[in-house]
Point group: C2
Chain length 138, copies 2
């Protein structure tokens, strides 16, 4: 590991091989899905078990019908959320976390927990860099 930094013999192989590079592909695919503006939030609030469309709208302030519907469809297509519509009037549609979604939800909850814990650290650090073009001190 401590080879002198002038010899670029590293072209042979990545020594630490952080991520297998073929896994990168579907990692990106998953992140692209749940890494949008609302997916994680929807998964998070679905911890209550089953929620109706309007319940989701209420619990996620700021989401539009367009995005709520769209995101639910994505999650549904991926098998993370189950949709059940009751043919009654007025119509009622319920959304539940699918089995596949439960594991993900655990992680999302941790992420939310982390965000709750450290958001002020982040904001503090963010405001501490007034206009730093690059704090290069090397």
């Amino acid at each position: 590991m401590q080879d002198s930094p002038g010899t670029e013999m590293a072209a042979a192989i990545g020594p630490c091989a952080s991520i297998p590079a073929d896994q990168m592909a579907f990692i990106r695919q998953v992140l692209d899905r749940i890494g949008d503006k609302w997916s994680m939030l929807i998964i998070a609030v679905l911890k209550d078990g089953t929620l109706r469309y309007t319940d989701l709208q209420r619990q996620i302030p700021g989401i539009s019908q367009r995005m709520l519907t769209h995101t639910l469809r994505q999650l549904q297509d991926d098998g993370l959320v189950t949709r059940t519509a009751y043919a009654e009037v007025p119509p009622r549609v319920e959304y539940t976390l699918a089995p596949l979604g439960h594991g993900l939800q655990e992680i999302v909850k941790q992420l939310i927990g982390w965000a709750s814990e450290h958001h002020d650290d982040i904001r503090a650090h963010r405001s501490r860099t007034p206009s730093t073009p690059r704090a290069t001190t090397g």
Copy 2:
């Protein structure tokens, strides 16, 4: 919790109170930051300790210089990543996970683990819905 589902007296208070609604704000803020196309991936590959700019480029296939630089700046501003530039020629810049970033990285690694485990489930379910306008069967 088990009040009959016909009486909508729920307007008074959210019984399960999934997410405190004031936490929603900074949850959204954090998700907006790390929920972009590359942040989590960068945090993930930084598990090797320290990586140079070009190392990051190599380990994250498909990222452009623009996005790598931009995302690194965000992470740096938020205090998740530390940048160290050495005033030598040719220049060398190293990026390391900041202390604040370590907790997040644990979660990101779990997320990647989950993605690796279930990406085929997701893809299978995704292709199983050929054109489902809505699989409403209630």
